[in-house]
Amino acid sequence: MTLQTQHPVPGAPPAAAGVPRPKAHRFSALLHRSPNLRLAGLVTAPAGWLVLVYIAALAALLITAFWTVDTFTGKVSTVWTTENVVTVLTDPVYQRITLRTLWIAIAVTLIDLVLALPMAFFIAKVASPRWQKLLVVAVLMPLWASYLVKAYAWRNVLADGGLLEWLGTPIGLESPGYGETAVILTLAYIWLPFMILPIYAGFDRVPDSLLEASGDLGAKPLTTMRLVMFPLLVPSIIAGTIFTFSLSLGDYITAQIVGGTTQMLGTVVYANVGAANNLPFAAAVSLVPIAIITLYLFIVRRSGALNSL
């Protein structure tokens, strides 16, 4: 390596005097002298991309919700109106769909919470370190498997004459078939790893010494859980619910695949982008989940959950 001769330290005389320095070296020296320039070089492209592509798109979505569609040409016309938003908020059909979507998202979140808590606790505090590693990987892998395939897998599980019917019949359980229950089950399945992992991380952060101290002072395991562990765990639990709740709220693929005729906010959005070709209305509908999620984030902001995201 001949680093020394190629790039003189700023202020020092050029090492290879007489040889004109190439442009790249002068640029490099300039960058070396100016941290602001270096920062600008690093941050411009990615921040520009996020702002120009993503934030601009979200802002445009908000604006489009207040436009209309020309009924003759089928094109979006920039005539301002609050009609779309008012319809979404006041029409009983959309109110019912909003409430149903909310109910599904809450049910999914509760199911995942009930399943995730004991499992995360077992992985973090009971399993041996070797098993701990294995179990975390076992939960992580399916998290990354295709969302579509998981929904499709449940179509198979719930099908007539499918696995669930075969498993359930001997113990007197019936498969719910395709419908709202199927959507809740499938979504709970899909987002479960998103709940287990933050809660596991939360349990893992609780020092064992704290639990031992509580036990030594005479607290029974359940008391220790309630008074020591739970308060420390709240941010992690909320972090998990942010994912299950917000991801369920915007779903439409699962509703399509196992929902039968179940309508969710997402299916309305999709229908209006595609078949009905009414982007302004779709935009207005999509503001509902955005508003609910923003409200939820605002409420839980104080708990410190956002830092564990």
Partner: protein, 275 residues
């Protein structure tokens, strides 16, 4: 906290049951891809390789595989560049708007896919008047894949010694030479891990894709969605679903071995290996 043996055992049983719940449906898809019965009644009556053969012979499937690979590759490259730049900027400098940007980068995966999807669809078609194509899919995917690279690189940078870079500069290396010879080699495995995750994320993405893809184009997930409700295609759909599971899980497994930091998105950043 001393748990009774019974409590430990029952927690273990619950864990095993939940794991079974997680894996059983995926296994069912794998088994059904060999199921000789085309209605997939359970239990299967016989096994066959016919569907796999048919999937390989299907031009629709082959074209969709090529499209998916292309989209995943290009979006991975873009997110590698952008994610690395952003991680370097956010960790090494303090500047106005830093917190906003660090929130901004997780927003595309924290908001439901449908919001990202319709927002981008609306911007491309209504605002910009661009017709949807594979390129609009790439732009959309790169936007939410950036975070996986960002997370991996920033985790690595946190553990890295800034001293090495200073030493390199003191010895006279320019900014680019230092990056090439000092910073990059230390980042390499984190970049590979982040890139693999971005690839897996893009390869099987469906929601944002349905909103940003052109009318005639198909990626593998789009192909599944189009053929899902056609009974005569059902066996081939199963095979393609298995391919999707494998193509998304193998990179994760590799990334897991490579990074040693974390494999996860947003809230799921969990440290796995302690070495």
């Amino acid at each position: 906290m001393r748990l009774s043996r019974n409590a430990k055992v029952s927690l273990g049983v619950v864990t095993a049951l939940v794991l079974l719940f997680i894996y059983l449906p995926l296994l069912l898809v794998v088994v059904n891809s060999f199921n000789a019965d085309r209605t997939f009644g359970w239990p299967p009556r016989g096994f066959t390789l016919e569907w796999w053969g048919r999937a390989f012979d299907s031009t629709g499937v082959r074209e969709a595989v090529v499209s998916s690979l292309w989209v995943a590759l290009v979006s991975t490259i873009i997110s590698l560049v952008l994610g690395t730049l952003l991680a370097l900027a956010l960790l090494r400098y303090k500047f106005f708007g830093r917190d906003v940007i660090s929130l901004l980068v997780i927003l595309p995966i924290a908001l439901p896919g449908i919001v990202t999807g319709i927002a981008l669809n609306n911007m491309f078609t209504t605002i910009l008047g661009v017709s949807l194509s594979m390129w609009t899919v790439v732009i959309a995917h790169a936007t939410f894949c950036m975070v996986t690279v960002f997370n991996n690189v920033i985790a690595r940078l946190r553990r890295m010694h800034g001293g090495l870079e200073e030493a390199s500069a003191d010895l006279g290396a320019g900014v680019f030479t230092t990056f090439r010879l000092v910073t990059f080699p230390q980042l390499r495995s984190a970049l590979l891990a982040g890139g693999l995750l971005a690839f897996a994320l893009s390869f099987d993405e469906i929601i944002v894709t349905t909103f940003t893809i052109g009318a005639g184009d198909t990626t593998l997930p789009i192909w599944i969605l189009q053929n899902l409700f056609r009974p005569n295609q059902a066996p081939v759909v199963n095979v393609v679903a298995v391919v999707l599971i494998v193509v998304s899980i193998v990179p994760i497994w590799l990334a897991q071995r490579l990074s040693g930091d974390s494999v996860g998105i947003g809230a799921t950043r969990v440290k796995v290996t302690e070495d």
